[in-house]
Symmetry: C2
Subunit: 415 residues, 2 copies
């Protein structure tokens, strides 16, 4: 395989390779080289709250722990430190592209740039009070500033706009943000139908199922992806398919918060683009896409009582080119093809739990985990070699987050 | 913590520790020391068939791939090599006790002894033709020989008897094997209600639900544990509880083969002893108990739509002392207590995906994986230090299995 200027030049048997001027080389014998994993949904700085509050009812988790911790501790420094820790964890486990949305998103982007990780960064919108015209103008201006700031960094940084949800954003906010996104040609995203309660709230407030509500507002289609989609009926799945709306699937988070199981095989059958996401570390509790893959493939088998419901190849596509499609990056990443950006991971197969090897796809999905990733290349740059991170000082990154966690613990002790 | 003669002498703060004659030491600062994991159900030599055939309907998987591969390749050498590979994988991922059943079980025990892994080894029974009196006498004698051979090795080797299932073993076989087990005071085990089809077969053959059938044969209770228990109704769960029958829970195998989800929270509420198992590597596809733990805790939350259905502490107990109870070894292993055998693992917490640390239990269940286990001590003996296996030549173990896999591949190619 040859890489030049950040792009894949060729991928073929040695005898068919063109003569090239030798540069830096990476010997991957005994290893598997595959496209880097695409994590389509996460809230990276929440790594600071990993394991802070588990096994609780959703409302107690949110209102008793997450919201208070965020209100007290979220600032630009915490965001930057938490995001750097997440970058380290992602590189170490094979993710080369992430799609994030959280507060102070510019500080997350800063961390991605330092780490050399490809990012789709969503400026977030949420209404805590009914929006008035002034508020909306401010929101639109903020969205435009965010896009203007990071757009020139493409394809390593891709700005996007992220409305929290239909139950926390008023119709006018959704319409305004979508209009700005369309105007700038960037992706519009939002959480959708994560819980049964959410569907009931939308029903009682707007007299419609969530997807119908969004369609009536004109926010579906174009560059648009929704996250979770656990509670979709057949009609809603048809609408997502027809409108070309993508889905970010977060199976482990949906399991852990007891939200439900998204009907992914039914969505795939309709041709909906599906990508995989870990969600934030407060609700998972890690960013390991290889483990998420494994769980996803098994979960849909048992959910449908059909061992063929999702095979290893389908799962692997979801975590790579599927995610790239959802993010609108399928022309750049997600497969190993000459001309695409070189986002590649090297998996060391010479390990007891990866022996013997019959089918590489099965091995990756059902037996590999993040710690088997030996090297990582993003945009042609080696960011990890022999499990050593080349872009980050991992000890310092961990120390910086521990310092924040000490403060969080003190507050939890007090509460 | 002090260890002497294979037992835990003390576990306390340094200032409270008795003066001891210093011997070998292991510095675990920055680490978490916990009881070794107890894998209550597996077919270790099936590591040779890891990933051979995935994503297939159960019958095609069994009759098209597993049974032919077993018929052709199972022999003492294959069993020994496959079991050694499994031993390496188990030690590397924190398992210190396993409960196995497969063909030529003595060769599996041999591998466990070489590796220094604690094993409950089940001599297997299955009827391929209706048993006559002679056949049954042969079976009983084989069971007695197996127990006599390995019993003296306790507590590192604990012989047990394993009937495949109620649909592959006739009532007389089940009764005979249970009688021998009771006579020798060893554990009797069997697969039970793994699939809906199995419940139907038993119903049509014996006119009863599987647990009622077993109760009528007198095989429940005493030292008895059943594996899977996916399709149990309330009444059957009550009978398991009343009879003191334990359950080996294999969530990932049940997911992957689309068998269903065992009602574990309901069994725990009734006081049934529940242990965790990975099942064989042909249906999982690994032996990583820390990953199995994580999946189990999340699966029961989403299955019951209740995020408090199984908390991290409950999950961890199932994988340690719960498993020990199921195997009848709770007096020896499963917790860190003076007087118990020293089966301990050391987890290195200084890693990005394990940072920060709020609650050790949550971290182990939701963020740790096998590769985070740094050292392993079984029966007071260090079998892994800094991820180096001290009892096995891991390269050779892998090479030996690869050789078998090459033969299996040739046959698959021919088929």
């Amino acid at each position: 395989m040859g890489i030049s200027g950040g792009s894949i030049l060729f991928a073929c048997a040695r005898r068919d390779a063109p003569a090239v001027i030798p540069g830096e080389t990476l010997n991957a014998s005994g290893c598997l080289v595959m496209p880097g994993l695409v994590n389509t949904h996460t809230h990276l700085p929440m790594s600071c709250f990993r394991g802070l509050a588990d096994d609780l009812p959703l409302m107690e988790w949110l209102h008793g722990h997450m919201f208070p911790a965020e209100a007290k501790h979220v600032n630009r420094e915490m965001i930057h430190r938490g995001a750097l820790l997440a970058m380290a964890e992602m590189i170490l486990s094979g993710t080369t592209t992430c799609c994030d949305s959280y507060f102070y998103e510019s500080s997350v982007v800063q961390a991605a740039v330092e780490a050399g990780v490809r990012i789709v960064a969503g400026q977030g919108f949420i209404d805590f009070r009914p929006p008035d015209a002034e508020e909306l103008r401010r929101k639109a201006a903020a969205a435009e500033r965010f896009i203007a700031k990071w757009g020139p960094r493409a394809p390593m940084v891709t700005p996007s706009l992220f409305c929290h949800s239909a139950y926390t954003c008023d119709p006018e906010t959704l319409r305004t943000v979508k209009r700005v996104a369309d105007g700038a040609g960037v992706l519009f995203m939002m959480h959708l139908s994560e819980t049964r309660e959410e569907v009931e709230i939308i029903g009682s407030r707007y007299g419609a199922r969530p997807v119908h509500h969004l369609r009536s507002l004109g926010v579906l289609g174009g560059k648009c992806a929704v996250v979770h989609g656990v509670w979709l009926d057949d009609d809603e799945m048809d609408i997502l398919a027809e409108s070309g709306t993508g889905l970010c699937h977060c199976p482990e988070s949906n399991m852990k918060l007891a939200s439900g199981i998204a009907p992914v095989p039914a969505l795939l059958a309709r041709g909906v683009a599906v990508g995989l996401g870990t969600d934030g570390s407060a609700s998972n509790n890690d960013l390991d896409m290889l483990l998420e893959l494994d769980t996803m493939a098994k979960l849909h088998k048992v959910a449908t009582m059909n061992p063929t419901a999702m095979d290893a190849e389908t799962a692997l596509r979801i975590a790579t080119i599927g995610g790239a499609r959802v993010l609108g990056l399928q022309g750049l990443i997600g497969t190993i093809e000459p001309g695409k950006r070189a986002d590649l991971i090297v998996i060391d197969l010479r390990r007891p739990h990866l022996t013997p090897l019959y089918h590489p796809c099965s091995q990756v999905v059902y037996a590999c985990r993040g710690s088997d990733v030996r090297d990582s290349i993003i945009d042609g740059r080696i960011v990890m070699r022999d499990r050593e991170l080349l872009t980050l000082d991992v000890q310092r990154v961990m120390d910086d987050v521990r310092e924040i966690a000490e403060r969080v613990k003190k507050d939890e002790g007090r509460a």
